[in-house]
């Protein structure tokens, strides 16, 4: 019950921000789509696995939108296509990488994303390299929107996608399959003794994470209307993991909370210290890890407990 309240509060807060600060509509949309990708990272982290290459699926979703846009005029279809392509790619890569654990899992994901990044830059005639591809604004639900109306529509789309995805992931984590996922982290061998294929469980989570990243990437592409290979670069993958830890992996709210705070810290750090914003983000991350390993969601939780205990 209290979880629902929190989510409700978060939604209201985001809506207020978007209402009173037009430029934050865009930033919130980007944060929500980052949050979607991070939700996938969180699933993998539950299994104790960290992917340093999930920017690959974000880019897959985004580039699918860019490539299909000339043939498809409906944003929702583009979104679905982005998710589908990312999931398909996730299956191809996932069948291979789910055989590995820990560092090897992370490094292989990194390798695949680096190959994809190189190809996006290399295949210049197809992808326009670093110039990137412009996405002509599609219609949404058949409505041709532009200006603030489009911003709002996209923001709401991202919000709905985030709520849906968050709900689904929360249910999944509460299910037996979700428990099996957690068991990969702590006692994988026992899982196998119990007749459950750890690889299969991990593959399911991997596919879900690729799909989520694909949706996030597609929304990002629809918001920026321009995609570049930087989306697939490894530092972007690192950022996704960063946000996951920042937000905390204990609750599905964590990724979104982390993403919103990450974007805001970055914007403000960049405005105040244009030459050293990266350093500030680094310090924020260090402080979170060293002092609050359960992330922002964990901090909120502790705070709530304390307040609840007193009141």
């Amino acid at each position: 019950m209290r979880g629902t309240l929190t989510v409700g509060a978060g939604v209201v807060l985001l809506l207020l921000l978007a209402l009173f600060q037009p430029w934050l509509r865009f930033v919130s949309t980007i944060a929500l789509s980052t949050g979607l990708a991070v939700l996938g990272i969180m699933l993998l982290l539950r299994a104790g696995q960290v992917s340093f290459g999930h920017a690959l699926y974000v880019a897959a979703g985004a580039y699918t939108v860019a490539f299909l846009r000339p043939y498809l005029g409906e944003a929702l279809l583009l979104l679905l296509a982005g998710a589908a392509v990312a999931t398909g790619l996730g299956l191809l890569v996932g069948l291979f990488v789910t055989r590995y654990r820990d560092i090897f899992f992370g490094m292989l994901n990194l390798a695949f994303s680096m190959v994809a990044w190189s190809l996006l830059e290399k295949l210049y005639s197809l992808t326009r390299g670093t110039d990137g591809i412009r996405v002509v604004r599609p219609s949404l639900l058949g409505l041709g929107l532009d200006g603030p109306a489009w911003d709002w529509a996209l923001f709401l789309l991202a919000l709905v996608a985030a709520l849906l995805a968050g709900g689904l992931v929360a249910r999944y984590l509460g299910s037996p399959a979700g428990s099996a996922l957690g068991a990969i982290k702590t006692r994988e061998t026992r899982l196998e003794f119990a007749g459950i294929s750890a690889r299969r469980v991990l593959l399911q989570a991997y596919l879900a994470s690729a799909a989520l990243a694909g949706v996030g990437g597609a929304i990002t592409a629809l918001a920026t209307l321009h995609v570049t290979p930087l989306l697939a670069y490894w530092t972007h993958s690192g950022e996704l993991v960063f946000v996951a830890i920042l937000g905390g992996t204990g609750h599905v709210l964590g990724p979104f909370l982390g993403a919103v705070v990450f974007e805001l810290v970055r914007v403000h750090a960049a405005a105040a210290f244009p030459d050293a914003w990266q350093m500030i983000l680094g310090f924020v991350l260090l402080v979170i890890i060293l002092s609050a390993a359960r992330g922002l969601a964990g901090l909120l939780d502790d705070l709530a407990r304390r307040l609840g205990g007193r009141g």
Binding site: L45, I103, G106, S118, T189, W234, V241, I245, F283, L286
Partner: protein
């Protein structure tokens, strides 16, 4: 054709030497501390920048080689203990993901530190390269620095490191910790000290890699980023903690890359990663890695 192959081999060798110098420190640190240090690339960059400063200060070209060594040692001796004691020592008990991210955060911080200290203008101090002059092979000029010094130093580093780990007490202690940390602690090995020493050596090797690279290339912001991903690929392909493995893998990647420039330039960038995927497909723990028994 034969000449082309020879030329490609020579180019590949020099590149492999540079790659090895960075990867070996990374793999050594991972072997002992079980932490994959993303900031290793930053240490490479700091070593390179410091080397360039010292070469500039040294003035006389004869002193420039000394300046490179000094830069590597200084970086290792200062940054190594600072990072290990100040940061890593606090997180040995944490999850791997968190350890990885701590080094990622450190990497972000050090990127800006480099920028604040050395600015954004490309730096280039090639006195050591000019000092050693050129060598002609089949009508093609090479620099002696690239053809002889780089592979030479890499070979010496490899031999010295294996000798240190196998023949000296401290080295054997390090190896013992690599194999079984609990047993090592049980027989009274000071694991804290081993961590400190290993990380300092690793940092020094990264800085040495940077210092050796400094006279051959322009130092620009982001130079560490390039190096780190590539050395990850080397370390994973070789098998974690494998020093000789890192040498063989660096050689493979170096040769494959320069052959690619000759025969399939489109593949140049992706080769290290394709090699890694191919190797891990056949040998899941890397070329020289051993599969570890899982504890139930």
């Amino acid at each position: 054709m034969g000449l082309l192959l020879l030329l490609a081999t020579l180019d590949g060798l020099a590149y492999a030497a540079q790659l090895f110098m960075v990867a070996v420190g990374l793999t050594l640190v991972f072997g002992v501390l079980k932490i994959l240090n993303v900031a290793h690339g930053s240490l490479f960059a700091i070593g390179a920048y410091l080397a360039s400063t010292l070469v500039g200060l040294a003035g006389a070209p004869e002193l420039s080689l000394l300046a490179l060594a000094l830069a590597a040692m200084a970086t290792g001796a200062v940054m190594g203990p600072l990072i290990e004691r100040g940061l890593l020592a606090r997180i040995y008990e944490k999850e791997h993901v968190l350890q990885l991210l701590v080094t990622f955060a450190l990497f972000m911080i050090l990127e800006d530190v480099q920028k604040l200290v050395w600015g954004v203008q490309p730096l280039f101090e090639d006195a050591p390269v000019r000092l050693l002059g050129q060598v002609e092979v089949g009508g093609i000029f090479y620099t002696a620095y690239q053809l002889l010094l780089l592979p030479g130093v890499a070979a010496v580093a490899l031999v010295a490191l294996t000798w240190f780990l196998r023949r000296t007490l401290l080295g054997r202690t390090i190896v013992a910790v690599t194999h079984d940390r609990e047993a090592a602690t049980a027989i009274g090995i000071d694991v804290r000290r081993v961590h400190l020493v290993t990380f300092t050596i690793g940092a020094g090797l990264a800085a040495l890699g940077g210092a050796l690279a400094a006279p051959t290339t322009s130092l620009v912001p982001g130079i560490g980023v390039q190096m780190i991903v590539l050395s990850f690929a080397v370390v994973a392909t070789a098998g974690l903690g494998q020093i000789e493995g890192a040498a063989v893998t660096a050689l493979l990647i170096g040769l494959a890359r320069s052959l690619a420039v000759y025969f399939a330039p489109e593949l140049e960038v992706v080769i290290p990663y394709l090699l890694m995927v191919a190797v891990l497909l056949v040998r899941p723990a890397g070329l020289f890695g051993r599969t570890v028994l899982q504890r139930v």
